[in-house]
Symmetry: D2
Subunit: 303 residues, 4 copies
């Protein structure tokens, strides 16, 4: 059933799809660790070569995945322990921060489409200080040094007539941040990962990724500065769900139902449909808060 095109923004899932029986993919490194206190499972996939990138269908870079079973459920508060682990992992892939740096956070996606509103939700909660630091310096916060944080929600092409990438590029050129953190809602392949997996990456945002399907890249290559991407899968393409169910069924029943066949009509009808949880409205808000806190924590101190 290799002809069935599954879509996932998670490197972890891409790896599961392509690995051979030995569990190895050339040019792709894989490491695991557990944060036992917080019940968070951390996986690091590093795509080191062009061949690895081709095999995975993802650009070269580091992809860190935090799997948090309880994240999809409400918490007293907003899962501070997750924010802290996420901040820790984020610091591991940020540029060296031993002097005052300037960071632009980009909240991608569509504020008016719930499953696509993770980026704008993060922006709503973020602590920004660039305007204060530029006018009054760190003294305004009783500190000697502080990283500068600014934030933009570029909006979606159907409302702006511009690529998010054009807007961000213009803002980067005008305000000269040292690097970008771009937040976006992702598509997963498995419903088990919905709303409970956070992916960090040094590879930026690529055409066709995210719930909203950007055309242009937000990467170090396109912007001239490092771009870290943070995302959570909030949807699964409905066609992917059915395709995967059929594939498992073939395996279970030892059949080769779909080989060389067109997809059943039931699948092609699912075009533009997605699967999501019933509490997505509330979940996206909570995830946005958890991620904005993580970014706040990661940028709080100068090393």
């Amino acid at each position: 059933m290799g002809s069935f095109q599954v879509r996932t923004d998670l490197a972890l899932e891409a790896r599961e799809s392509v690995q051979d029986s030995s569990g190895q993919i050339r040019g792709v490194k894989y490491e695991e660790e557990n944060n036992k206190n917080a019940g968070i499972h951390v996986t690091k996939v590093t795509i080191e070569t062009k061949n690895g990138a081709k095999a995975m269908g993802k650009p070269m870079g580091i992809y860190i995945t935090l799997e948090v079973p309880g994240l999809a459920e409400p918490d007293e508060g907003y899962h501070r322990e997750v924010s802290e682990e996420l901040a820790h992992q984020l610091q591991g892939i940020m540029p060296v921060m031993d002097k005052e740096m300037s960071v632009l956070v980009v909240g991608l996606g569509n504020r008016d489409v719930t499953a696509d509103s993770l980026g704008p939700n993060v922006a709503d909660n973020l602590f920004v200080n660039r305007h204060v630091l530029m006018e009054f310096g760190a003294a305004a916060y009783n500190k000697e040094k502080m990283h500068q944080i600014s934030c933009i929600v570029p909006g979606v092409m159907a409302k702006t007539g511009m690529e998010s990438a054009e807007i961000v590029k213009g803002v980067v050129e005008e305000t000269k941040p040292d690097f970008v953190i771009a937040v976006d809602a992702l598509a997963a392949r498995s419903t088990r990962r919905l709303n409970r997996t956070i992916q960090l990456s040094t590879a930026g945002i690529h055409p066709g990724s995210g719930v909203g399907n950007h055309r242009n890249a937000l990467t170090q290559e396109s912007l001239g500065i490092p771009v870290l991407a943070v995302g959570v899968p909030t949807v699964v393409d409905a066609a992917t769900i059915v395709g995967d169910a059929l594939e498992k069924l073939e395996a279970e029943c030892d059949l080769t139902i779909m080989a060389g066949r067109e997809h059943p009509q039931a699948i092609s009808e699912l075009n533009n449909m997605y699967v999501t949880g019933k509490d997505i409205d509330e979940t996206v808000k909570r995830l946005g808060y958890t991620i904005s806190e993580a970014i706040n924590i990661a940028l709080e101190e100068i090393e």
Copy 2:
């Protein structure tokens, strides 16, 4: 695959599931018509007997379905032609309106869960006049007679601690309307019907129906006055989608894959997941406006 429990709030789909090769179900009458001008296909299913109700898994009553292929797409405005046909069909099942009547419109569902917010959206656009008529009479609108319209959005149990049915019952007893029109988001079995099918019914709202799964009924029996239900399917249960795809595949491949088997894990993982369109946020608003206008038109004139 009869063991696979599909869920649909549409009598039309229930009938498709249970009809035999003759296309007949005892105790269930079926009629079709087309509104050629507006491209609307109207179907009327009447469940006339208890046996018919048992076969259909739906209570006795009239179920009218308007299928409007273009309804899921944006329009210059809000599809007034659909509002007019819906008003016409609504008038056909309303009590005799030859004197001033009082109508309570109930917007069921959860304002904060997009796919479940059809009822509150209808309420937001509805023309209400009961308070004006009670203080100033129809003269306030330069008319001699007018139907009284009031409206309540009871909210959901998780936010109120009360059944919608309890709240509506209290309001009905206090304000004594002649009948109720209850609007709710529905679940369909097929994605083809999502956001483009409107169902009217004299059977009211029943436990387990709607996107939000009410526990208590809103019916003539429970409220003491007629209850007309208006609904649009905004979601399909994800498990239903996969189940249906498998069923079609069995037919296409002439197999009996699932007979006597447990559902593949891929299906049970889909619990609490639903499938919906990518533009559901905008679609629900537009549908709400179309239905509120239909109710406004249906109640505008005294016969």
Copy 3:
């Protein structure tokens, strides 16, 4: 300038307007205390007689005012110390709670008019449990006894065609709570009190009070059970502001400018205008959270 009709929902301000030089009003008792830890100034006005009520222009009952200078400003969080003092004062005027009681919280006002949305904001954050307790008992929360909490947002007459009082009366008769806590946005006379004063009262809600001007009362007399009112002034009538400024000016300049005169046109133009703070959108959300937490705390334990 006694002919200038000032409007305030705060008993504290009404008392300031009518007291004579001795500071005494017959039939009205006045007490003050300070919660030094939290910087909250608490005032208790008790209108004990019909004469007192007439003098004050407010019905008989207890009116407790919490003045919190910092409340209008954002806080790390939501001013938990205010929630705790408010819970403490609320417990002082609630019925004896030594057995399981059932409480209906009513969120008055208009969700879509920022300055009038305090009630709906409180409802959004409230912990409700009546539906769980009725189905599973207190065991669902690992407790032996719990107070039952339910909540309704009746909406405004222009959207429902019904008085809030009609809806609440119906719900009270259907669900039989032991008492009601009604939350509403208030009008103050002085901008100094905007968003930083909370008034509790045993007198319920009266026609003409609140930002939205209810016509019917929500009182023990109308509902048959005690009604506690909780409110925060979010607006000052613009005409009141100007009138007060003129009055002070007369005093400062030792003039009698307006005696026996019509109001200057500048005042009559202010009809339907109100004065509010620039950050009212954010402030109302924060106040709503603080009050909902206070109600949660006040109802948490059985004495």
Copy 4:
């Protein structure tokens, strides 16, 4: 009472404040016309010299004011006749549009502060096409030529850490529009003008103007392309209201109360307070729609 600093963003009001008994101000031209069909009063103030600018406290440029008594009230629809007159006036001050031009509409202000959300509301309704034209050309709309329209909502400094001007400048440099139309909520001096006056100007947006008080300018000088400003006053500073009432009172009573005095405390307490209408939430949405339609109409055809 010249010491009392009144604030208005309307050139019309500035002129009223400074004109002498002859009604003339040097370097300032004044013209009036009426659109009798639509009941719209149009005024054109042209500040032609630096002296005129100094006298008026506004930069040189053309300021056109549309006064529409009915604009503050709801309409069947959204006042299309106003959109058409506004489009006509806008075309009068736009650059020559005889070839395909590219226009960037900027929605200034804060989406989350009702009285400041006019710009974002206009952006929500605007027809944008730049992304379609760049990929498919005018043929996508069955036309030969079309103006390119893009749109940005820069957000407010407290949320972005950047000046709106920085963001717009970056976007202008990246996407190279021919001119900018900037929409913003304004402050008026008189409540009579609230929500019923629209001002167009060739002078752009200046520090300290708008409800949200920008620090940096959006002008031809700062951006390198023409900047047309469109605004509606949605608030009056509360201190201005009281100051104006006192001034009128002085005139009526033939007194000189405030000469050389500090403002009464009643005025200084009004700092950061503003006066607005009770239906501001709904009004801003309607105004946003009316203005977005005007921009759509003005840019529809190539001359």
